[in-house]
Subunit: 237 residues, 2 copies
């Protein structure tokens, strides 16, 4: 963990505990990234096995959430972290929460793949799905990389990406609704695509939250609910 | 705060800080409850003014989130809370997070009211909306009451309610999709109702999370991702 204060602790045990929390967070992040990838593939290929795998992985993600939350609580109780260490624990804890919710959204997407598989495949709306799905997977990856490298510039890029994804999502929903009106026989399938799009859009929001946690960790500033320009100012100070 | 350990602190200042956090949490909860009520009314009455009021209130909710998070972080840094005090701080922090997300969902509902108002009112799907909306508002209220009174039985009831709401939500969505297929002219409006239903269902999930925070606070047990029967066993121990 470069540029980070954990090396200066007198207690080697404390260092080890912080490093363990960081390691577990990154491991959880890796599983969640995989979940998004598999969920997206299950949609595009209408592959039920992959969908079931995504849902199964969510159990693992939930266990990691409980485990890491327990670890960070113990660190708070025993070590009384202050300054950067405290911000680190708080950021880990918030990020774990976002990762768990991303896992939930990936499961919901997998559930939609299963529903879609029931009435045969059709490419309607899938171009947008694939595009937005890949984009938010990259955002999650980028936000976790930013966390690992304490890179606020990379974190800020994720915030910018999220703005774009929100716009693309709105366009995709509008297109889908228009198609539904043109051909009402596709309504059931279109609703499944709609829920999947929504889940991907939510994943993008969680990646944005993780990026904000990175900024809080590094700069000590809570930038939630602030406009991008204001956040940029904070970063350049 | 009856049955709670804050009375035993040697530092009157520490007591005052915990009490302040509790007070602010409840104040935030009150605003969010009101937000749900107004958002629901804005939908039913297709009242744009109320919708705009809901969205405006969200700014207040966001400010409270940042404020309370800052307070709890300061308590962690200065007071090194342990045992129940630490669980109290963690529960407040998690509950604040859920309340903020409820506020977001209320805003999304208000946004749908504004969309619905554009093409004139229609009662389609509103019976379910009103029913589910009122139910989740009660759940949020009950979860906050359970927090204030440290009442795990009341918290458990919220978990049970959430199961019921999820079932009702699924039925409502199916009904709505059937109606869309029968009369495709209603698609745009039905999609707005669908998003509103989803938002209410999510609010129910957050009420459930708050109830789980209460159980964690009082019993020291993390019951997330556990089945209701298992949670009931934990409470009877």
């Amino acid at each position: 963990m470069p540029n980070f204060s954990i090396d200066q602790h007198t207690s080697a045990q404390f260092n080890a505990e912080l490093e363990e929390a960081r390691k577990n967070l990154m491991e959880m992040g890796g599983i969640v990234e995989q979940q998004i990838e598999i969920a997206l593939k299950s949609l595009i290929d209408v592959d039920i096995e992959l969908a079931e795998k995504t849902i199964k992985m969510d159990k693992e993600v939930n266990k990691m959430e409980v485990k890491i939350d327990k670890e960070t609580t113990q660190i708070l109780a025993k070590r009384h972290p202050a300054a950067t260490d405290l911000r680190f624990i708080i950021s880990v804890s918030k990020t774990v929460n976002d990762l768990e919710r991303i896992g939930d959204e990936a499961s919901k997407i997998a559930q939609q793949s299963i529903e879609l598989s029931k009435d045969g495949a059709g490419p309607q709306g899938y171009v947008e799905l694939r595009h937005i799905g890949e984009k938010v997977r990259e955002m999650v990856q980028a936000s976790l990389d930013a966390f690992a490298r304490l890179d606020t510039d990379a974190a800020f890029e994720v915030l910018q990406q999220d703005k774009k994804v929100d716009l693309e999502y709105n366009t995709a929903v509008r297109t889908l609704v228009t198609k539904m009106m043109e051909d009402p026989r596709t309504i059931t399938r279109a609703i499944n695509v709609l829920w999947s799009l929504r889940a991907f859009e939510r994943i993008g929001d969680h990646a944005r939250n993780i990026a904000m946690n990175v900024i809080y960790l590094v700069k000590g500033k809570d930038v939630r609910h602030k406009k991008l320009e204001k956040i940029e100012e904070t970063l350049n100070k």
